[in-house]
Subunit: 524 residues, 2 copies
């Protein structure tokens, strides 16, 4: 059997990550996204933990899912409580999910020191809870918490816990590396030994504290595990859970397993970015498979080679996971980088042009520009060079004033004077800082002529001092990331004056937006 | 032999990462930091690639390193070129490093399609280069590029490449997973087979495209590899190189190997953060071992359990890698750091004072302050708290104007009004940017009262956006480094307004200078 079942716990264990908090609407939207991706199970929350999760289980029933089954998560019944009266178990049933996942302890010292019950009572708590939920028609998975640590200390008891769960009817026994500190060789050895003894479906749930969660998951699959638990982007408490964005492509593209439905794999990058956006987290650009730099090439030699043979520096085709290749421009790269970038303008045969643009990029880079993270500015540069560019507005001037009196808050005002089609427009705006005020004033002046600028917003702003040893007279590079309904783009500005550097990046950003729009109109 | 040699390539392969660009000063400072950490080899750069690396190799000779050896990196000689005349090999010798690392091809199709030379000529290029560098007294490592991909396609040739390198005198044969796409089971199997045939020292250099770089490195060590290459924080092209911040603690704490010198492991977190700061990258909070959330506990149950038994949700003691536990609900982070810093005031016994200062620091850190790299500001904070502080001047107000007309240079003016001993002083100054103008105006106003300020200058200025997703309304943290004839000190300011943030850091810097002087006078 080469089918692996994907159990996503982004909404439950993932939401334990620092700074992560999903609203009810977020959780429902993510559920649809995960279903579209094609995961088999979606662990939606912990019904007893908070009212938000309770509402989630109510509302999720009205979503039309294509494939995924929703799971509710909770603990075994409490010690010395009748199962029908256990609050947690009641809440799990009220969630009315087809699947219930129960966590129980499998490390003897945890049972004694944290739960403070006897080893036998713990076994009863597990078997009671599973049998009861099975009798209510649920598919039941059993998460054996701290399984690997427990097995290392008392393998007999850890095994007994699994046997008890299996005997009570659990549909899968999930081995958890709760501390996330196990090594792949240990995981392989222990799962191999368990596989001999437990005939039912085995699952794996590992954390990434040793930076080995993906490897540990794959090692367990090699030993016969068929249910894989993890989260999108590996979000979760401490160092996070195993990252499904890495596990799934490894399983499918490298190990020949089947998971997700048709075409699901190609949606992986999109789903990854969606989760970052919804969780309001910065995406990790060098994230394997789905990161924006995952297929980015910088060294000139590499780029030369990749044009000859794509397999040279790419372990998989980027499009197989819905990602794309990116050629970076930097001082380390020779002309081949720029060549690749300019390809879309069909100008690479023009040797004089190529020489000119190369020289200009190098000059600008010497001044402190950096185009690898500011492709929109690079495109504007090329367009200006080849005449495929029109000015949308002329700057007549700007003025920014920051004023502070004693210990009061500073007051910041910007005025901008621009000319569009020979009509002069003067605008003024306050802001929380000089760049913010300038940005507001500039938009205010231009929106009258270009109403679509309302759709655009600045989402990221970076300042870097280029030659820091010059103190406050140092040059700064400003990089701005902008976004509208369809696109994200980056622009750059450099100056000894942080306001001027920001201004250049702001202007590029607006011009790029207007240019793209104009092109769409022309095509239509 | 349980000693593993750590070969750091942060400065070379790491700098290929998207958005990473180290200045010469950065590279030298990082070299000292890595040496202090205790790595065995520091690959400093690619002498032929650019003038910055050339200068690095000149200047690095004057650094006093405790332990690390510097390595220069380059390719084998070109085809059909006499070794003495090969530009790259000449550049490598001119770098005058004790170690030279040579990269050569070991994948037959790459030799044919990218290098476009015969398989035999490639072997000669490798042996010539190694033998020649050995004859010049260098320690020589051979990086077998694409080794694992090559071995899978043509194991006979890949092996021959290693044998040739060994026969020519290479001190280590480094197996590279250049595409970063191999699986741990493949790595283990291939390294195991190679170990049988190659008796010399083996090294490993892997990339993280499959999210398996750490696991792949550990798998190769299990098979006898003794030199491990990687970068701090795993920075590097695409998905980065293997992360030494994860590899080293796994090797030492879990697998019982020796690496780094005494106490090196405890510096790991500090070095990780230093590299992020220098590269101006946002740190990855959930990074294993060294991330700020790596030992952060959120769930109430977890915190309860961790108080009963620290091993419950921690795979290693956080302090073993210089990190610390963080309880997210009660926000107790940083207390040990603060304790250490307050010690010199002999006040750690004063519980109320410690509680107050802890609270204030935590509040400021929540606002975006960071005192780790701004100890002078921290000292001022403590002095204000305990009354060992006097005001040297009062700010009545400042105003900064930046004005730009069409395409002219911007004009920047600052006026500052201060009061010293009830005498009001108003001054104005121009500058290359708003902070520079403000700095000049403030000094001008104060030098009349405090002539020693003439000896002081600002040597470094850093701006960092703290919450980048807020665009231009984001908060910024400014860190200023100042210097006089005897000392160097750092101060910090935070605000949504970059001018105000800079102002706070400037004022702290001047006050700190005056305070130190006053103390010297008092002592005399």
């Amino acid at each position: 059997m080469n089918r692996i079942f994907i159990y996503d716990t982004t909404l439950r264990d993932g939401s334990q990550g620092e700074g992560i908090s999903f609203s009810l609407q977020d959780k429902l939207a993510i559920t649809l996204k995960l279903d579209d991706l094609g995961v088999d199970y979606i662990e939606g929350g912990y019904p007893i933990a908070n009212p938000k999760d309770e509402s989630y289980f109510k509302e999720v029933k009205s979503l039309k899912l294509r494939h995924a089954k929703i799971a509710a998560f909770g603990s075994t019944r409490k010690a010395e409580v009748r199962i029908e009266e256990d609050k947690n178990v009641k809440a799990l049933l009220l969630a009315e999910t087809p699947v219930v996942t129960i966590v129980g302890k499998s490390w003897d010292s945890q049972v004694k020191n944290v739960l403070k019950v006897s080893l036998d009572e713990n076994l009863k708590m597990i078997s009671d809870t599973i049998a009861y939920l099975k009798s209510k028609g649920r598919e039941v998975f059993f998460d054996a918490e701290h399984f690997f640590d427990g097995y290392k200390k008392n393998r007999e008891y850890a095994l007994k816990v699994l046997q008890e769960a299996q005997a009570s009817g659990a549909d899968a026994m999930v081995l958890c590396d709760t501390n996330g500190g196990s090594l792949p060789v240990e995981i392989a050895e222990i799962v191999g030994a368990i596989r001999e003894k437990i005939k039912g479906m085995l699952g794996i749930h590992v954390h990434n504290d040793g930076d080995l969660a993906v490897a540990n998951t794959l090692a367990s699959v090699n030993q016969g595990v068929r249910q894989v638990q993890g989260t999108i982007n590996g979000i979760g408490e401490r160092c996070g859970n195993a990252d499904l964005c890495s596990i799934i492509p490894n399983l499918v593209l490298k190990m020949g397993y089947r998971c997700l439905e048709d075409k699901g794999l190609r949606k992986l990058t999109e789903v990854s970015r969606y989760i970052y956006e919804t969780a309001n987290l910065l995406l990790r650009s060098n994230q394997p498979f789905v990161g924006v730099s995952a297929f980015a090439h910088k060294g000139g030699l590499h780029i030369n080679a990749i044009q000859k043979d794509k397999g040279t520096y790419e372990h998989i085709p980027p499009e197989s996971v819905g990602n794309e290749r990116k050629i970076l421009i930097s001082e380390l790269s020779g002309s081949s980088t720029i060549l690749a970038k300019v390809e879309k303008f069909h100008l690479t045969h023009d040797r004089k042009f190529m020489k000119d643009i190369l020289e200009e990029v190098q000059n600008l880079e010497n001044e402190g520009y950096q185009f690898e993270s500011a492709e929109a500015s690079f495109e504007l540069l090329v367009r200006k060079k080849i005449g495929r560019y029109k000015t949308f507005f002329d700057l007549e001037g700007f003025r920014v004033i920051v004023e502070k009196r004693e210990n009061g808050l500073p007051v910041t005002e910007a005025t901008v004077k621009v000319k569009v089609n020979n009509i002069q427009e003067l605008s003024a705006s306050e802001g929380s800082g000089p760049v913010n005020a300038l940005d507001s004033a500039l938009r205010k002046a231009l929106e009258r002529f270009y109403p679509s600028l309302k759709d655009m917003k600045l989402v990221d702003y970076k300042v870097r001092v280029i030659n820091p040893r010059s103190g406050t007279a140092a040059k700064v590079r400003v990089i701005i990331e902008s976004q509208d309904k369809e696109n994200i783009w980056n622009t750059v500005g450099v100056s000894e004056n942080v306001i001027e550097a920001s201004w250049y990046a702001l202007v590029d950003s607006i011009e790029y937006k207007l240019l793209k729009e104009q092109e769409v109109e022309t095509e239509e």
